[in-house]
């Protein structure tokens, strides 16, 4: 049976073009009752996070930062410092894991786990390709918004559990920031959902495919879509504590905020979670407004660029590219904009983004009704 | 499982909603009033202590016009069985709007409340919100709607209770109200879920049909009924769901105490009557089988324990508000007697009693407010000698208390008379219940009379104080309450006819 299943799985992996062909094949695949396919299905995003975080995340960010600041970045380990990430891994793995005596041990240990699991669970609904999605939920977008909130619990657990003033300040600030920005973010994504008329991530993506490439993307479907797009992008920066909204972990003020006390593997987990979230929000932004795994290239007359660059494997490429692009923008902003003060942060959220999100919501609703 | 309805279905749904909106105008009007109040509060700067109540009172009074128009509409379901418009609901619309007006009126005179630094904007809008919630409670015919409207009332009531933010008693009252409220509502929802499980319906008409057509596990039904009673019983403040009453009534701002003791209780009764008289069929006499769907027996137990407990514990209260709180528990018991009768007469009696209770209890609390404005106390000992210093207030309070005891020639007597008439109309089976009713009202005489006793029979502790005069407007209001209490005690036909007219419950299965 297992051999049969293996043989069955090979074909769609290479050939399958139908929707979710890969993930459905994986879902049905089990060995001796153990749903190995499911594990593999889940492992793929996990591996992706790990790889991307270590390469693009650690090495890439350092290098990009360096370029922007006109310096070299890591150069010591290997050619151009290319093995720097490996060194980092080894360091984190064997570094002593200190648990402060005053900490709440349980929360201290559990916090990073929650943080990571929350971030990772969101990947379940990200369609990496027309053929691959972790879990094809009909409420995918909603689920993605909801599940990310679990991170708040992890942050609070980590900050509180550390029993360190910096950590607690950082955690509370971070929570306040995340929950506040969830309002404009939620409303902005709602606009996208209204344009699509569904919450299914695959459906949302599919509705944006077409021969004209980027012209089918939600962002270009209505002039109003730019408003929620920008709002969500700004809010998502705050949600993942990226600059200029990085006061929760502001090194110079709070000494890394809620993970001040963390070291070794626990730090690595937090770190993975952060980078996972970064990709997650970028991917959601891409899916809702920029067509997800759809190729942005239009068919130019006889040159059917779009058809050529479409397909399950191309889809993987496109969505990761789009995600990485936004991560790049995030890194870019980090070195461009100064950090906001707490009151500015709240001002921006409640008095700028939220009202504008509402305006965008109302306009989108009217647009969608009256301009078909 | 989650299929979207077809286009035609959607159109019919929309048409249904549009048709229902026409029957929903008073509620919409009040919601608009609620928002107008908030906006006025936000826009207008400076002293708003008269502007807001005036808007509230005139606005609420304006809703009478829309409610009156509903008389011409035929009784029926709206919003797909969520909501109903019948005489019973109309009665409570009048009732709650009136009580909202009165609450706003007496709030104007409460000096404690007006001293609240954060302003009164939310206060009046919350009062209006509570009116809306209670109106919807009285008309809700779906478990979901019942739950939502009860929560609307509850949530606003929590805030109103704790409105005096700096007063520890007020905050404590709010906390207790909230905790008991949340727990009992939680239990009620659990009961609802069981009912839903048994019948597969949340509409009370269809629940009743299902229960009649199919047999249900009596034990589960009993548990469900008990849980639901926890929610309703909490709202009406009946034993054993009364624990919040004394503290909340004592701690709240007095107008809110009055408002809760009357309107919130009445809303509880409205929903209790609608639910029990419509949804749950009742088989036979009250004594059949304890583990069956015998909610009447439950109500009887509730009623008896409320009457006895409320009246007995009130005996040794020193705080007037607290005493009135315990007495309100007792009154819940009397009101339940009318519900237990399960017939038109019983319903009529309950409604009449509610009307009379509105009049006399608001009056009593109003005088308590005026007195505490002057003396700064609600303590029984501080009422000494007030009869001489505040003659009209003393006389009015005495009349209200006499009415609360149920002595002629006051409206409270007629209320009791109607209740007992309804009971004896059933023949001899409920006589013992009526006996408990009258005996406990004798007990109630003792503690009610403690107030006039202190006011008239005892000398003031500070004999040199001059007479404490209240404003002319307050005196007029007080006198109106007093005269109405007496007038309706002698000529109660209009009230009673109104109650009779209103006892028509749409789709009830019991009578």
């Amino acid at each position: 049976m297992s051999v049969m299943a293996l043989s069955q799985i090979r074909i769609p992996l290479l050939m399958g073009n139908s929707l979710n062909a890969w993930s459905e094949a994986l879902t049905g695949f089990s060995i001796w009752g153990f749903p190995l396919g499911l594990v593999i299905l889940a492992a793929i995003p996990l591996v992706f996070i790990a790889l991307y975080a270590l390469t693009y995340g650690v090495y890439g960010e350092r290098k990009i930062s360096a370029f922007m600041q006109d310096r070299l970045g890591p150069m010591e380990v290997g050619k151009w410092g290319i093995l720097q990430t490996l060194a980092d891994i080894l360091k984190l793995l064997q570094k002593e894991d200190i648990v402060p005596a005053a900490a709440d041990k349980f929360l201290f240990v559990v916090g990073p786990g929650i943080l990571f699991v929350g971030s990772f669970l969101a990947f379940a609904v990200l369609p990496f390709s027309s053929a691959f999605i972790g879990a094809n939920l009909n409420v995918g977008l909603f689920y993605a918004i909801g599940i990310v909130s679990i991170e708040v619990v992890g942050i609070l657990a980590a900050g509180w559990g550390s029993n360190n003033k910096w950590s607690l300040y950082g955690a509370v600030r971070s929570v306040a920031q995340i929950v506040s920005y969830e309002i404009p973010a939620g409303i902005a994504l709602l606009c996208g959902a209204m344009m699509a008329g569904t919450l299914d991530m695959q459906q949302i993506t599919m509705l944006q495919s077409g021969h004209l490439g980027f012209a089918h993307f939600n962002l270009f479907q209505s002039p109003i879509a730019w408003l929620p797009f920008l709002i969500y992008f700004i809010a998502s920066l705050a949600e993942v504590n990226r600059a200029p909204f990085d006061i929760p972990e502001a090194e110079s003020e709070l000494v890394a905020g809620y993970f001040t006390e963390y070291s070794g593997m626990k730090f690595a987990v937090i770190f993975l979670a952060e980078y996972g979230s970064m990709f997650m929000v970028s991917a959601v932004l891409s899916i809702v407004f920029l067509g997800g795994w759809n190729s942005p290239l239009p068919d130019l007359g006889p040159v059917s660029l779009n058809a050529m660059t479409s397909g399950p494997v191309w889809g993987v490429f496109w969505i990761i590219s789009k995600g990485f692009f936004f991560i790049f923008v995030q890194m870019w902003l980090r070195w461009t904009l100064p950090r906001l003060r707490v009151d500015q942060l709240m001002y921006l959220c409640w008095k700028v983004l939220t009202p504008f999100a509402f305006i965008g919501f109302v306009l989108t609703a009217i647009w969608e009704i009256y301009v078909p | 499982m989650f299929e979207l309805p077809s286009g035609a279905e959607i159109q019919s749904v929309i048409a249904g909603i549009k048709a229902s909106v026409g029957y929903f105008i008073p509620e919409i009007y009040l919601s608009v009033l609620f928002m107008v109040l908030i906006i006025v509060d936000l826009i207008v700067k400076g002293k708003k202590n008269t502007l807001l109540p005036v808007i509230t009172i005139t606005g609420l009074a304006g809703s009478f016009f829309f409610i009156y128009q509903q008389h011409a509409m035929t009784a029926g379901e709206m919003f797909f069985g969520m909501y109903v418009l019948d005489e019973f609901a109309l009665f409570f619309k009048y009732f709650f709007v009136l009580s909202g007006i009165l609450a706003a009126l007496i709030s104007m005179d409460d000096e404690y409340l007006n001293r609240e630094s954060s302003g009164m904007g939310e206060y009046y809008s919350l009062v209006v919100a509570m009116v809306i919630g209670m109106i919807m409670m009285a008309a809700a015919t779906d478990l979901l709607m019942i739950f939502l409207s009860m929560e609307l009332v509850g949530l606003t009531a929590y805030v109103l209770t704790g409105y005096l933010k700096r007063d520890p008693r007020s905050s404590e009252a709010a906390l207790k109200y909230l905790i008991y409220g949340a727990v009992s509502t939680g239990l009620m929802i659990y009961g609802f879920s069981l009912i839903y499980g048994i019948t597969g319906e949340t509409n009370i008409f269809r629940i009743s049909e299902e229960l009649r057509l199919h047999s249900s596990d009596p034990l589960v039904m009993m548990i469900a009924t008990l849980f639901i009673l926890a929610g309703f019983g909490y709202k009406i403040g009946a034993v054993p769901f009364h624990f919040w009453t004394p503290d909340v009534y004592e701690g709240s701002p007095t107008p809110i105490t009055a408002y809760l003791s009357i309107a919130s209780k009445a809303a509880g009764f409205a929903v209790l009557m609608r639910f029990f008289l419509t949804a749950l069929p009742h088989g036979g006499a009250a004594y059949d089988n304890i583990i069956s769907n015998n909610w009447v027996l439950l109500l009887i137990i509730l009623s008896i324990s409320s009457m006895i407990y409320g009246n007995v514990v009130a005996l040794w209260q020193q705080n007037v508000k607290r005493m009135l709180a315990y007495s309100s528990i007792a009154h819940a018991g009397y009101l339940l007697l009318g519900v237990i009768m399960m017939d038109e007469l019983g319903t009529q009696a309950t409604l009449f009693y509610l009307l009379s209770y509105l009049l006399m209890n608001i009056g009593a609390f109003y005088v308590v407010i005026l007195i505490s404005n002057k003396t700064g106390s609600e303590n029984l000992d501080d009422y000494r000698g007030l009869g001489k210093k505040m003659p009209l207030a003393g006389a009015a309070l005495t009349v209200f208390l006499i009415s609360l005891v149920g002595l002629p020639p006051t409206v409270g007597f007629i209320g009791k008379l109607m209740i007992f008439t309804a009971m004896l109309a059933k023949g001899s089976i409920y006589i013992w219940l009526a006996l408990i009713g009258v005996l406990t009202s004798v007990i109630s005489l003792y503690y009610y009379m403690l107030i006039p006793l202190n006011m008239y029979l005892r000398e003031s502790l500070e004999p040199h104080k001059e007479s404490l005069n209240v404003g002319l407007l307050s005196r007029i209001i007080m006198a109106i309450f007093m005269i109405l209490t007496l007038y309706f005690g002698l000529f109660f036909t209009p009230l009673s006819d109104f109650a009779k007219y209103s006892s028509a419950l749409f789709g009830n299965t019991v009578y």
Binding site: T27, L38, V39, L41, A42, A43, L46, L93, Q94, E96, D97, I98, P100, A102, P112, F116, V117, F120, L121, F123, A124, G134, A135, L137, L141, Y143, W160, N163, N164, L168, V172, V175, V179, E182, I183, I187, L190, M194, G197, L199, E261, G264, M265, A268, D343, L345, M346, T354, P355, F358, V362, A365, I366, E368, I369 | G7, I10, M35, I38, L42
Partner: protein, 143 residues
Amino acid sequence: MDQTLSSFGNVFAFLALGIVFVAGGYLTARMLRPSRPNPAKNSTYECGEEAVGSAWVKFNIRFYVVALIFIIFDVEVVFLYPWATVFKSLGVFALVEVLVFAGILILGLVYAWVKGDLDWVRPEPKVPQMPVMPDRKAEGGRA
């Protein structure tokens, strides 16, 4: 197999794998890393200072206020999501309804705004002032 359930089964697999990954990471690290705790190392980090008291102290009430406002708005937004998926087929009627809904919601926002619940305490800029020291001589004399 029920479609919905199976989808959430996948989510469950993600959850399980996530936990296993974290736990596995911890275990691996524990096997590899040294463990040599000492009191100084285990003390709470406060930039080198001795930690004073516990960090579990009271917090600025504004954080709670933000939480309260968030709860209300977030929950209301939840209602809009199901609506968003169907409103096109419902037409103008649904639009009007949701505008009423959003209007009330916006009124709530305005309310919180006007009441000042959205204001954060602004840090007062500390303008450095030249110290006026008339007694400099006296001090100097004492020194």
